[in-house]
């Protein structure tokens, strides 16, 4: 029995989201393993879904807690839909609604050769730095981001260290004093 087949009834949040996107192909997969409502969406519709989650009165997701990326290069079989889409990366958003006190995890699988997705910085300003960190460490490009530069690493760093194909013991080229 796979880990994501938890059965059980959908929470009101999940029901509302499923009902909203019933006809479209946006929702690839949903589960609520360990009680965390999770939906997996097409990367193209990320702005659409996020605006709906934020503006809908019943959902009212007003705090974007976390944006991060995950690299499933070595074990794509963890998530059921990854091998089907030929996806390697996955951008994960954790959003929380302060009024309704419920959470949701939105995931968007990305292909290895073009890890590009729309930025949600215009919906929640807190995404600004999170997306810069995802770009810095994973190389995921966020289209429409105000200033997508490295945040944790120095400018001259070559490569994206948290990718699975980046060896832990790799050395970086030495950079001398600039002036």
């Amino acid at each position: 029995m796979n880990w994501w087949e938890t059965g059980g009834v959908d929470s009101p949040v999940m029901a509302k989201v499923k009902e909203r996107f019933k006809g479209t192909s946006t929702l690839i997969f949903t589960h609520n393993f360990k009680g965390d409502d999770t939906i997996v969406i097409q990367p193209e519709d990320v702005s659409l879904v996020m605006e709906f989650l934020k503006d809908d009165p019943q959902l009212a997701f007003d705090i974007l807690m976390d944006v991060t990326a995950v690299d499933y290069l070595n074990d794509p079989d963890i998530q059921p839909y990854l091998s089907g889409l030929g996806a390697r990366f996955e951008v994960v958003y954790h959003i929380y609604s302060e009024e309704k006190n419920h959470r949701i995890r939105v995931k968007a699988p990305l292909k290895a050769e073009e890890p590009i997705i729309n930025s949600v910085a215009f919906i929640w300003p807190s995404a600004d730095w999170f997306e810069r960190e995802a770009w810095d460490l994973y190389g995921v490009v966020f289209r429409g981001h105000p200033n997508l530069k490295r945040i944790l690493l120095y400018k001259e760093f070559v490569g994206h260290p948290l990718r699975k194909d980046y060896p832990k013991t790799k050395r970086q080229p030495l950079i001398g004093p600039v002036n």
Partner: protein
């Protein structure tokens, strides 16, 4: 008298003054060493500010992916190094959520006690440093003295003052020392005396009020949009505390209040943290009373290392012990996110496991990371002297923000 001069015409066009660009940090007295502000100053007013973090980036995630699930604990100590136990508790609870085990009663109580002691230590440091940056050296030393006593308490429990490394998946490394309740009582009496002195020194002090009030304020809607959590969000008037919103461990059995501010400026953040120290003391006292006797570890050798005198004799336990140390415990496949109320806000762990002994993804949601991203919005157009208290009250912790 502390109102900012409103600029209604473009100062530069009129006076062609050149902006003085200054680098404040990364090793500047006010930046505690790990952040650089690139300031464009027009006289004393900050025209443009760019915050540059990442000076304490040690590759936490990459390091954890090469460690077993149990070997990650010393690394979680070094995230918010002022309150290490809270990081440990957060990580341990996330993994326990993924595995599906719950720890015994006494262990949950001890986790709450040590977390609250660590939170007190973190708030003492933050408030003390805030007062120090404004020149009130004596107030800083009073809170450092209080912090020393709390750290001595934690040292008698965990074994170290700063990097506690106390919690394990499915339990704790050791039980509370004997006579701990007595020590707590005397320490808290001293802490309350110093707390009152600090409060009297600063809270109604006009100089302090003028420096802190109406500086770096943020509305509750903006606070939520910018991802504020913890004392900074509560100061903005939003009563969101993970210990109340999603009670974990035994927080639903203890009675404590959440301090909430109004305008979200520095003075509110200062007051919210000051009040939270008092609440933490109440929580610890109630926990010490309600705490039952009994085991502190899950009696299941697959997850938690068995007791020593059993394993050294019994070969079956020995096999489990060797496998767990060498390969790490085999956490079942899946992903989980668990949020804990850290000293600066919601400290979330998102882990993905592929069933082996090594994590695939070990993400820490740093509470002070989005808060610092809002600093330019809070401080643009204000004086350089306002940047210091605002930065202190946002309480950026290098280890947690840069990971």
């Amino acid at each position: 008298m502390s109102e900012q001069p409103k600029k209604d015409y473009d100062f530069h066009k009129e006076h062609h003054t050149e902006l003085l660009t200054v680098n404040m940090g990364p090793s500047h007295p006010a930046t505690h060493g790990t952040v650089k502000f690139m300031l464009a100053l027009d006289g004393e007013t900050i025209e443009n500010i760019e915050v540059d973090v990442g000076y304490l980036h040690r590759g936490f995630e990459k390091e954890c992916e090469a460690q077993t699930w149990t070997g990650v604990f010393p690394y979680t100590d070094r995230l918010d190094y002022l309150a290490s136990v809270i990081n440990n508790v957060g990580y341990a609870m996330t993994v326990e959520k993924l595995i599906g085990i719950t720890t015994p009663e006494r262990c949950q109580y001890i986790r709450v006690i040590t977390s609250e002691l660590a939170r007190m230590g973190a708030h003492f440091t933050c408030l003390g440093a805030g007062a120090l940056e404004l020149g009130a050296l004596t107030a800083f030393i009073y809170f450092v003295e209080a912090r020393e006593m709390v750290w001595d308490l934690i040292e008698s429990v965990c074994g170290a003052r700063l990097t506690h490394n106390y919690v394990r998946i499915g339990g704790l490394t050791s039980d509370l020392p004997d006579g701990f309740a007595g020590n707590v009582k005397t320490t808290f009496k001293e802490c309350r005396r110093l707390w009152i002195d600090f409060d009297k020194l600063l809270t109604k002090n006009r100089i302090f009020l003028d420096r802190m009030r109406d500086v770096g304020g943020i509305s509750s809607a903006d606070a939520k949009a910018w991802g504020f959590t913890g004392p900074c969000l509560r100061a903005a008037g939003v009563p969101y505390d993970v210990r109340r919103a999603e009670p974990y461990l035994v927080y639903d059995r203890v009675d404590f209040e959440i301090p909430v501010g109004e305008t979200g400026d520095n003075y509110d953040r200062f007051q919210v943290r000051l009040e939270e120290i008092e609440q933490s003391m109440r929580i610890v006292e109630q926990c010490l009373v309600q705490m039952p006797e009994g085991p502190v570890n899950v009696n299941n050798p697959e997850w938690r290392q068995p007791s020593k005198d059993l394993s050294s004799g019994n070969i079956e336990y020995m096999i489990h012990h060797f496998k767990n140390v060498l390969e790490g415990i085999h956490v079942p496949k899946g992903e989980a996110y668990q949020a804990v109320e850290g000293a600066n806000g919601e400290l979330g762990y998102y882990i993905v496991s592929n069933g082996s002994g090594y994590p695939v993804k070990m993400r820490v949601r740093p509470p002070c990371f989005p808060i610092t991203s809002a600093l330019p919005m809070l401080i643009k157009g204000r004086l350089i002297a306002d940047l210091i208290p605002t930065f202190d009250m946002l309480n950026l912790i290098g280890g947690e923000c840069d990971r």
